[in-house]
């Protein structure tokens, strides 16, 4: 058994939410990524037992989706958008600066395990292009300089929880729409900060 009991309990709870066990596969993969920063072979074995499908079936599904990482990721996953609205708003400059600062190329993780860099497709922040996500927390209206500031800040502060609103206030610019009140929820691992799939804080 490679998963903590609490994680297995959570997995069983999630399975209960669905009419068929296999539907819980996606959420369970997030639980796996929350644990190790990627989908490890051990987790695949664990999940295959919990759901009752073969290991390779789990792997087949996991590897289909780009948010399930097949290699270990750093503490902060930096995802810069390169799709059309960002592309025509000079996202390439942001990408270049972030790569330079982190000294990483696409899909690479630094030796300290702090940053993983990736260029990604549209993250739904096109009105605030160019945009970035840190552990799936969105920052809009970026400039190359602000992007570097953001990375520096992450490196220095190493926040336990990454909060979109906080980052936006510090480093963001034009937004896709009015975010209205400030929200202090965020993400504590390179999976979407969504309580059901995250347990970094609990464990």
């Amino acid at each position: 058994m490679t998963w903590e009991n609490a994680r297995i309990d959570k997995a069983k709870e999630i399975i209960e939410m669905y009419p068929q066990k296999r539907s819980a596969l996606g959420p369970l993969l997030y639980l796996a990524q929350d644990k190790d920063g990627y989908i490890s072979d051990d987790s695949i074995v664990e999940i295959s037992r919990l759901i009752g499908i073969t290991e390779v079936q789990v792997q087949s599904v996991a590897s289909f989706y780009s948010m399930y990482k097949q290699e270990p990721t750093g503490k902060y996953l930096l995802s810069v958008c390169k799709s059309i609205s960002c592309e025509i708003s000079n996202s390439s400059n942001v990408i270049q600066k972030v790569k330079e600062f982190t000294n990483l190329s696409n899909n690479e993780t630094d030796d300290e395990g702090l940053f993983t860099y990736e260029s990604v497709e549209c993250i739904g922040a096109c009105g605030g292009a160019p945009a970035i996500q840190v552990n799936y927390e969105t920052v809009e209206g970026l400039t190359p300089e602000k992007a570097v500031d953001l990375c520096k800040w992450l490196k220095e502060e190493q926040p336990k929880v990454v909060v979109a609103d906080e980052l936006q206030l510090k480093f963001g610019g034009t937004k896709s729409f009015d975010w209205a009140i400030e929200d202090n929820t965020g993400s504590s691992s390179p999976v979407p900060g969504f309580q059901t799939y995250e347990m970094q804080e609990e464990i």
Binding site: Q20, R22, G26, C122, A164, F177, T196
Partner: protein, 430 residues
Amino acid sequence: MKETILLTKHMRENPEDSHLLKSYEKNGGYKGVKKVLKSGTPESVLEEIKSSNIRGRGGAGFPTGVKWGFLAEDQERYLVINADESEPGTFKDRILLERDPHQLIEGMIITCFAANISKAFIYIRGEYAKPARRVQSAVEQAYEKGYLGKNIFGSSMDLDIVVHLGAGAYICGEETALLNSLEGRRGEPRLKPPFFPAVKGLYNKPTLVNNVETISSVPWIMNNSGKDYASLGVEGSTGTRIFSLSGHINNPGNYEIEMGSSFGEFVESLGKGVRNEKSIKAYIPGGASAPWLRGDQLDVKMTIDDVANEGSMLGSGAVVMMDEDTNLLFAAKSLVSFFAHESCGQCTPCREGTTWLENILDRIASGRGRASDIDLLLDVCDNISPGLTWPPKMTTICPLGPSATASIVSLMKDFRSEVEVLLPKKVVVS
């Protein structure tokens, strides 16, 4: 030109707390569903929806009432909300999820009442973590209040909602791929027929799949009437629609408008004009899949039919403006590589063709183009989408593959010289 505020009313009037149940309810929320549960019948709800003439807001524009009418009889039926919004340029569902989740939930309850459904899912793209948190806590609030769960609102109706996150696959926006994904499988579109999940959907059971905006419109329609809704907009494109405006625009954002004005008016009045007073070279009228229109076509009316007449589509409601300085080859390259990256890989033409197109564009962009490349690009496009017409003919299972050809065809049709200058001249051997 002004906005017509129906769906975005509550969030605008109560910016501090529009996502909370308390606020939603204080401002008239959940009234519609209470009325329906008390005195309505499934048939009467369906009647209203039909008479509103609302068409799906997910991109395909299928009449919602008709779709609901297809739902096959079965003990077990499901509602799935498509909140996978991933088409580049589109961010309208994001605001509805983040700022007014109860409106969606109310819409879902009414829909499930009309369709006799007791289990529903909201499939939100994984990158929408904050919207998902907001929706999840709204669902929890609704459970606490007895608006979800057993005997909701004290009626005999039961309804459970599960919020489910995707994990980075645009193709899961295609409804049958979404259902596969929700079943814990690879997000590959299913074969058609059956043409509608309403016949055979989640777990092979009849399933309604509707877009966030579509279902968020339901409470307004029930609070007012189908007729009222139909009186807005134009025939064939009734009601309001939220457009996501981005690109080289002074005031990008989401705008709720009645369909019928021109793109030019839209850009000038709501978008506050083009940045740095430039002119528009080309624009995308309806998301990354849509063929481009030229800057001299800004007087085209924003209706489903008018845009179709120009050989493109209103699609997902994403309008991307590209000014005179835009490098259109790079724009096309970005779009093509999006589709190549998002191809599920089932169909040979899409899996192999989109990557090939991406490679050729890369080659041209980096100065390694060949004289024959334009012909090659168009012929490869033709092998994915024979005839290069729009709406496309397909050699594939779903429209993703053919969508990848739209930008190349647009580029070659209207801006060919921008590419030609990058290529060596054809050597004519005499």
